[in-house]
């Protein structure tokens, strides 16, 4: 019913307008109105983000899941030369918008208490972040996509750099360096695609839908694939370009970690699905073994590293890398179970790791340390927190009945059909995740409370109850009834796979590709 309204531009614009409004009012506020400003800014931001949430719920309800193509498409002239403003969503992107719109209000709620200084600026940064994140998932123009994709890092840098921990400069610098390398290479690839479209099509274009039809020779595909891969692998992050993530998480404020883990890590996986597979199918097939290897290394290696961490956030950060390993493994299995599982795992990880970072935030706000050894015996004074933390720990471990299980088992089933080796390696992650997650739980929640500083610790507040309760509800709901997600994504994923198979089916004019294909199909 709303499909004729420009709902996607609205979703991007509303938080942006909110941010500008806050910035404007903040400028006008005199010194004596500062306190009031600081009080009201979070509420304004919350209101704005709730409007976005409402609108994105409308979007998903209105979304026609049986249509595999792009919907709510909006186009307008923009830079010229085939570079236009294009937005639209399909089954692959629409749920990420909902996830973003769902996590942002929770982050704002949590930050209202935990952020003490420069709240207004913080809220501005957050609304800006929301706008850009939604933009990434809406963009149908490659240039527009690229701008969102890179610009989204700026508010994130600010959130870490201004409101982060003691070592925040190092963390954001590391983050920056890694992403810079990937960005430059991806930009070069985008420019090549644009140039090539001018050669092959009547008019040059950066329309993401049209670029799929480019005929790219095999060796060029290889280079372009690698250029995109450089960017997505860092975002994912995949081993061995993952070392920025633990530092960024440790230094980021709670809500920053939630968004980083919940949404920003998904940009890599989204990019693989949106570009690598449809644009460079032959190269994707060619590099699938590489991805599988890196995925399995990520799962085993980072799980073992997580097991040895002494900082709660670092432990969860490393476990995120392992969980993203399941995503890449599933996507490059090129079958329904694998890709659906990868998508599901991304959504689920957004909820679960977000929730885990909120949990760390709960105790950090009270004790100002994330040192695992500081805690112990929390269940006595924080029984409700302990129950929530248990649920999310179990979801992280992939216990059936929680959303964590569905993604893991689907990606493994998908990968198994291609290579039992890969699935068996990933399955080891089932053991290792239990080791580190239960280790963390035991050291913080169980045991005798020996640290008397914990005598004053209190159980979750109403606000925290609400945040964790909502996340818990969806963690279980998606675990019991994953069709809520998979039904929405199914049609688009099916089309992606059928196009992929058509593109990689032994082409008459390029018989030299045949042996590689035989190995995969």
């Amino acid at each position: 019913m709303f499909s004729d309204l420009p709902i996607l531009p609205a979703l991007v614009a509303i938080p942006l307008i909110g941010a500008l409004f806050l910035a404007f009012v903040s400028r006008l506020t005199q010194a004596d109105g500062r306190d009031q400003m600081e009080r009201n800014a979070p509420r304004t931001a919350l209101l704005v983000s709730l409007i976005v949430l409402l609108l994105s719920v409308v979007l998903v309800i209105d979304f026609d899941a049986s249509n595999p193509g792009f919907q709510f498409v909006d186009e307008a002239p923009w830079l010229g030369g085939g570079i236009d403003f294009r937005m639209g969503v399909d089954g692959i992107s629409v749920l990420f918008i909902l996830l973003t719109a769902f996590l942002t209000p929770l982050c704002i709620l949590a930050s209202e208490i935990s952020i003490k200084e420069r709240k207004t600026d913080y809220m501005i940064a957050f609304l800006l972040l929301e706008s850009l994140m939604i933009g990434v998932f809406c963009a149908l123009d490659l240039v527009l996509f690229y701008i969102f994709f890179e610009a989204v890092l700026i508010p994130m840098f600010l959130i870490i750099g201004v409101w982060g921990g003691a070592n925040r400069i190092y963390a954001s610098y590391k983050f920056f360096l890694y992403t810079l390398l990937g960005s430059v290479l991806m930009l070069a690839a985008i420019l090549w695609l644009y140039a090539q479209s001018g050669v092959q099509f009547a008019d040059a274009t950066t329309d993401m839908r049209a670029l799929k039809n480019l005929d790219i020779p095999g060796n060029v595909q290889t280079w372009l694939w690698l250029a995109f891969f450089a960017s997505f692998a860092v975002k994912m992050p995949m081993w061995p370009v993952h070392t920025w993530l633990p530092d960024a998480h440790v230094q980021a404020p709670t809500a920053g970690s939630v968004i980083l883990a919940g949404i920003l890590l998904k940009l890599g996986g989204y990019g693989f699905l949106r570009f690598s597979l449809p644009y460079f199918p032959d190269a994707s097939v060619q590099f699938a073994p590489l991805i599988f290897t890196l995925s399995v290394i990520a799962i085993i290696y980072t799980s073992l590293v997580a097991y040895r961490q002494t900082d709660m956030k670092k432990l969860i950060a490393y476990s995120s890398v392992a969980h993203m390993g399941f995503v890449t493994m599933g996507i490059f299995a090129f079958n329904m179970q694998g890709i659906q599982g990868g998508l599901f795992q991304m959504i689920s990880h957004g909820l679960v790791s977000g929730a885990l970072f909120f949990c760390v935030g709960v105790v950090y706000d009270r004790m100002h340390t994330r040192d695992i050894a500081f805690y112990g015996g929390l269940v006595k004074r924080m029984p409700i927190f302990a129950a929530f933390f248990l649920l999310f720990t179990m979801a992280n471990v992939g216990l059936p009945g929680t959303s964590g299980f569905v993604g893991e088992i689907l990606t493994m089933i998908g990968a198994y059909q291609v290579s039992p080796w890969v699935a068996a390696g990933a399955a080891l992650g089932m053991i290792l995740s239990a080791m580190y997650a239960l280790h963390l739980y035991r050291e913080t929640i169980f045991g005798e409370q020996v640290n008397e500083k914990l005598d004053v610790i209190t159980d979750v507040t109403g606000r925290e109850w609400l945040i964790l309760g909502l996340l818990a509800f969806f963690t279980i709901l998606l675990g019991v009834y994953p069709a809520l997600v998979t039904d929405v994504t199914a049609a688009s994923v099916e089309q992606l796979i059928s196009e992929f198979q058509a593109a990689t089916a032994v082409p008459v004019e390029a018989p030299e590709l045949a042996p590689e294909l035989a190995g995969v199909n």
């Binding site: 890179e150 890092l153 700026i154 600010l158 980072t302 097991y307 035991r442 069709a483």
Partner: protein, 682 residues
């Protein structure tokens, strides 16, 4: 609605007790209310389970599958939330719900002084629900849900005394060891989907014949697909049912409260592996190699666990090793194709082993949480009900009964059926695993009798060996604990005699297809002449492939070795023998063999040195050497050091403020885009 009520009543109880009872969310139910709700719902489930069992096994209620809801439906991978009800499930329903209901009741007394009763009862009910989902699943994925769900409940209940480091360690050990098995199960499920394109029992089992020669490449090995599936599923079963190599968690699980040990670590959860093999019997019937492997693992576990049980001093650990050993019996029964004998032993074992655990709990309760048998003795007059229950449980476990008369305690029927099945298959020739199993089973039966009677003598007879204060205050347990003992005693006495015909011969169409009556090997399941002679089932024997004629020594040997075990225990531990032995062990440390057994063959130590420390070491290497030492050093830090030096000379950009980086990046990106686009497009 009958079946839905049976399965979901415990879940409702768990939710009520877990949310309202623990002040989760504000409102708080009185403690008693939580206990009444959970226990009441469990008794409802238990009674309805018997109704269902009677209708399915003895009435004419048809097997049925109730689909509750779609779960996964992705590109041909279809798994529903469903309740599959057949005789196999019905047997599990009564076992799970009966023991669970009695354990709920028992916990009223046993957990009387506990501060968190609603939490405890919520966990118990949650466990029951997960177990029910496991046994009612109609596909492998829901089975996996129940499988891991009971693992979670087990983790929570082992670590229930959360302040004790040993309890926490045991809880994690149980969960992680089970996960090792679960990897096998998960890979098995993946292989099933690869081979059959489905994970639903009915579809898979129907397509076995046409896939029986299919070969797969698994990790570089060219293997038969069905054998591979059978083996992977069995690895899962080994974890859950504590079979040798993956058994290490079960004795440590005794850190949990005793009612938990009775319910989860004796009667129900640990038997899930046996259930899995029986449920998937169409797979195992065409997987002779794996079946042989199961036979050997089961038989060896029966033997191994019994040897360790001989020398343990903790009353619960003795029974835990006994459980491990009895599970071995069930597995080798399944391995030789006697699935119904395995299920029959699972059924009777649930009664007498829960009885033994609850009896032990009653002793522990009476002696103020003393579990060391060296500090017990002579208390039988103080706890006569408990003593009687323990004696009945021991008679059932050791398989006392009269061959050729068809009379005996529950274990007599089921254990002898297993040993005879192994003998029959072995005597049939060509199956050395079965011969091995027969002898191991016989030797283990001797040791079972010895350690069981040793437990009785050390606990109840002789002189009391600890402080007088405790002895004087020793008291019989309250009725809430006595009633479960009485009910289970009835089961331990009669369950074998009453249900023997049904389980073993499928009388009255008991199984109707849920399990094969004759087993994989031809004569294994034919009625033995021992019972046939006693109860006049000659014709039944002929109906089912002709009665196998066992030599008399086979029929009598289990009873004889049991008697020998009793006699040996009597002479070693009566008339001051216990005191002498304790003193001797304290002085000299005992013989090397004693030390070897006392330390459980040093398997825990072996795992600690290799696996546990290995994982820590690897984690440290990956983190400190590779991540920090190589990737960071030559990656971002190297670049950072380089650019920091360069930019300080070139400009003032390196002001240390991240904002500047962001700003520079934005400008850079914009310039690149503009140049690039103008260059190509313009």
């Amino acid at each position: 609605m009958l079946y839905q009520t049976i399965v979901f009543a415990p879940l409702i109880g768990a939710i009520i007790a877990g949310l309202a009872g623990t002040r989760f969310g504000g409102a708080r139910l009185p403690e008693k209310a939580s206990m009444i709700v959970t226990t009441g719902l469990l008794f409802l489930s238990a009674i309805l389970s018997w109704v269902a069992f009677a209708r399915i096994g003895f009435g004419d209620a048809p097997d049925t599958t109730i689909t509750l809801m779609r779960w996964m439906d992705i590109g041909g991978l279809k798994a529903d939330w469903a309740l599959k009800i057949d005789t196999l499930t019905a047997v599990m329903l009564i076992v799970v719900n009966t023991v669970s209901a009695l354990v709920h009741l028992y916990s009223w007394g046993y957990m009387e002084d506990d501060a968190y009763k609603p939490r405890f009862f919520a966990y118990l009910s949650l466990f029951t629900f997960a177990m029910l989902m496991l046994v009612t699943s109609d596909n492998f994925i829901q089975l996996f849900f129940g499988w891991e769900g009971v693992g979670l409940a087990s983790y929570l209940l082992i670590g229930y005394y959360y302040k004790k480091p040993s309890a926490n360690a045991a809880a994690i050990k149980a969960f992680v060891t089970n996960r090792v098995g679960d990897v096998g199960l998960a890979l098995g499920i993946m292989t099933i989907f690869l081979v059959f394109g489905s994970v639903e029992f009915d579809v898979v089992f129907a397509a076995i014949a046409e896939n029986s020669d299919r070969r797969l490449d698994f990790l570089g090995l060219d293997v038969n697909a069905i054998e591979l599936i059978a083996m992977l599923l069995f690895i899962g079963a080994m974890g859950k049912s504590a079979q040798f190599v993956l058994h290490v968690w079960l004795p440590d699980a005794m850190e949990g409260p005793t009612p938990v040990s009775a319910l989860i670590h004796a009667a129900t959860m640990v038997t899930a592996g046996v259930f899995l093999v029986c449920r998937a019997f169409p797979i195992y019937e065409v997987a002779p190699i794996t079946s042989g492997f199961i036979t050997i693992v089961g038989a060896f576990t029966a033997f191994f666990a019994a040897t360790v049980g001989l020398v343990q001093n903790d009353i619960k650990r003795v029974i835990a090793y006994s459980t491990c050993s009895q599970l071995g019996y069930m597995f080798f029964a399944a391995g030789v194709g006697a699935y119904n004998a395995a299920m029959f032993h699972l059924f009777t074992h649930a009664f007498f082993k829960a009885l033994l655990f609850l009896g032990a709990g009653s002793v522990i309760h009476a002696l103020h949480h003393e579990q060391d048998m060296r500090k017990m003795g002579g208390i039988w007059r103080k706890v006569p009900w408990t003593y009687a229950g323990m004696i009945i449980g021991t008679l059932a476990l050791t398989g006392i009964g009269m061959p050729l008369l068809g009379w005996g305690f529950a274990g007599f029927f089921s254990k002898d059926a297993i040993i005879e099945a192994a003998y029959a298959v072995g005597a049939g020739g060509g199956n050395n695993a079965a011969v091995f199993a027969f002898w191991m089973g016989l030797i283990a039966a001797f040791m079972t009798s010895f350690y069981s009677w040793r437990l009785i003598f050390m606990t109840f007879h002789g002189r009391y060996r600890s402080d007088h204060h405790t002895f004087e205050h020793a008291h019989e347990s309250p009725w809430s604990m006595r009633v479960p003992l009485i009910v289970l005693s009835i089961g331990a006495i009669f369950a074998g005699a009453i249900f023997y015909k049904s389980f073993m011969y499928g009388y009255g169409g008991f199984w109707h297809g849920a399990l094969p009556i004759e087993g994989g090997a031809e004569h294994a399941m034919a009625p033995t002449n021992l019972y046939a002679a006693a109860e006049g089932y000659e014709s039944a024997g002929e109906d089912h492939g002709g009665g196998h004629h066992f030599p008399l020594w086979v029929l009598f040997s289990p009873l004889v070795v049991s008697a020998l075990g009793f006699v040996l225990a009597f002479f070693m531990y009566r008339n001051g023998g216990t005191e002498r032995r304790i003193a001797h062990a304290a002085e000299t440390g005992g013989s090397p063999i004693y030390q070897f057994l006392l330390n459980k063959w040093y398997i825990d130590e072996l795992y600690d040195v290799t696996i546990v420390r290995g994982a820590r070491w690897l984690g440290d290497v990956f983190w400190k050497v590779i991540d920090v030492g190589i990737i960071d050093r030559f990656g971002p830090n190297g670049v950072a050091a380089f650019t920091a030096g360069a930019s300080r000379r070139l400009s003032r950009l390196q002001s240390g403020k991240v904002f500047h980086y962001a700003f520079v990046m934005l400008i850079g990106v914009s310039i690149l885009i503009v140049i690039g686009l103008r260059g190509f497009g313009g």
